[in-house]
């Protein structure tokens, strides 16, 4: 196995580990939102696996990642709707549910489904950063005395801010970079985007495990 393949496979392994770890939410008495996230992460792993297989066979898989990101943004928005207790955020999520599918539709018509939909990626990522920041604000203002490190959604939000924040400038310019600086795009994607994906999955694992630890300490 060459280095390049190993580097590109590492994030997939991490997603797999995160999906496997998240399954403990069904073994123990975890909140429903965490179980839903667990199901989504398993699905996430399946799509990523399909992505890697298609890439291995030299097939263009941008359509698959388009679907992957559509579902990811919509699912995370739905899950954050239950976590953030703020009516403006709830209104924002409702607005997102109307505007985002319209954006997907418009971009699918304008640039097709086989090209990575960067407008959708930027909008979705920015909205995810907004939701994670709203959750951090909620934690900041909360009167609750529980340590934030025992809150799984703190770890998830931390991961989402890092991942979406650090990949959105790249993903936003992806098509342009791919057309003009193909090698650099490959390099950046392999080393940077994959590192952030690994980091995100590590934080997802931490979130699921911290919930178990806090249950044990009670």
């Amino acid at each position: 196995m060459n280095t390049k393949l190993l580097i590109s496979t590492l994030p997939l392994l991490m997603v797999g580990c995160a999906a496997a770890t998240s399954l403990i939410s069904f073994r123990y008495d975890y909140p429903t939102a965490l179980r839903k996230l667990s199901v989504f992460w398993v699905f996430n792993f399946c799509i990523d696996l399909c992505g890697h297989i298609t890439k291995y066979f030299g097939l263009k898989n941008h359509w698959l990642y388009n679907i992957y990101f559509w579902l990811m943004y919509l699912t995370l928005a739905y899950l954050y709707d239950g976590q953030v207790k703020n009516r403006y955020v709830h209104a924002g999520i409702r607005l997102f549910y109307i505007a985002f599918p319209l954006l997907i539709l418009a971009e699918s018509i304008l640039s097709g489904i086989n090209t990575l939909q960067t407008m959708m990626l930027v909008t979705g990522s920015v909205f995810m950063i907004f939701l994670a920041a709203a959750y951090f604000r909620q934690l900041y203002l909360s009167e609750d005395n529980e340590p934030v490190t025992q809150d799984p959604w703190f770890w998830f939000s931390f991961g989402f801010i890092l991942y979406f924040g650090c990949t959105v400038p790249f993903l936003g310019m992806f098509n342009y970079l791919w057309a003009h600086y193909k090698e650099f795009t490959n390099f950046y994607y392999s080393y940077f985007c994959n590192s952030f994906a690994i980091l995100l999955n590590l934080l997802i694992i931490t979130g699921f495990l911290c919930q178990r630890n806090s249950q044990k300490s009670r």
Partner: protein
């Protein structure tokens, strides 16, 4: 990376770095805030505990003064009136047939006078100070024994040590409340009490063979305020108060207090 370093790559790296720094800043500020919040809650809790302690202390002081005043009134006023009544009665010249009745009234008044003295002594905090909590407790047991409602068993072991006066009153009031509860509610025939001194620890066990109660019934609102007071007083010492009871199986009250400065 064969392409030359361009503005695009600069923007990409710079924006990633800025976002990383911002995320770090947010998380660090969240941790700092969490620490501050924790400190604030701890201070609030300490203030609340201190306030409750002060409130209880003030409550006990008022109660102590009230007891002292009632005790003085009983002794000086009611006691004197009964004594005068007895003197007057004894000075009456009565016929032989009424002499028996007078003698019976005299013994009843004597009994009332004794009870009055006992109650007066029992509630007067000065008496507890003078006799000490242990002798006051034994006197309280004697008072119950005299009623013939209960058979009282008392035992002790170990070497007694001196407890701070204010704490002796609190300790005695807990024991007094326990005995009052037994007399009022237990419906039993025996009271077993045992005091054990070990180094600077005293453990008092009071047991009855009464009807007992469901353990959770004292937690209901409006129920068992006497027991709640006992618990508050125990917390003030601080002492460990354990109450074990089951319906039909009597009740056991255990009080353990550790004196920090022991003088034997």
């Amino acid at each position: 990376m064969p392409e030359k370093f361009s503005e695009v790559t600069l923007i990409l790296f710079a924006s990633t770095l800025i976002i990383l720094l911002l995320t770090g800043l947010i998380v660090v500020s969240l941790f700092i805030n969490q620490k501050r919040k924790y400190r604030y809650h701890r201070e609030k809790f300490e203030l609340k505990t201190n306030f409750e302690g002060e409130l209880l202390r003030a409550h006990l002081e008022i109660q102590s003064q009230a007891f002292e005043s009632i005790s003085r009134e009983l002794h000086d006023n009611v006691g004197t009136l009964i004594s005068i009544a007895m003197v007057h009665m004894r000075s009456l010249s009565v016929s032989e047939t009424e002499r028996d009745k007078i003698s019976e009234v005299d013994s009843l008044l004597n009994e009332a006078m004794d009870s009055l003295r006992d109650i007066s002594r029992s509630i007067n905090p000065e008496n507890i100070n003078r006799l000490g909590w242990q002798k006051s407790f034994v006197a309280e047991l004697d008072r119950i024994r005299k009623t013939n409602l209960f058979k009282v068993h008392y035992s002790e072991e170990g070497l007694p040590f001196t407890i701070e006066l204010q704490k002796q009153i609190i300790l005695f009031r807990i024991l007094q409340e326990t005995l009052n509860n037994i007399v009022k509610h237990s419906g039993g025939n025996h009271i077993y009490s045992h005091i054990r001194f070990l180094d600077n620890l005293v453990s008092i066990t009071i047991k009855d063979d009464g009807k007992g109660f469901k353990a959770h019934s004292i937690d209901l609102p409006g129920e068992g305020s006497g027991i709640k007071n006992m618990r508050s007083r125990a917390a003030m010492l601080p002492a460990i108060l354990e109450i074990e009871s089951e319906v039909g199986g009597g009740t056991v009250v255990r009080l353990s207090y550790k004196e920090s400065t022991v003088q034997t």
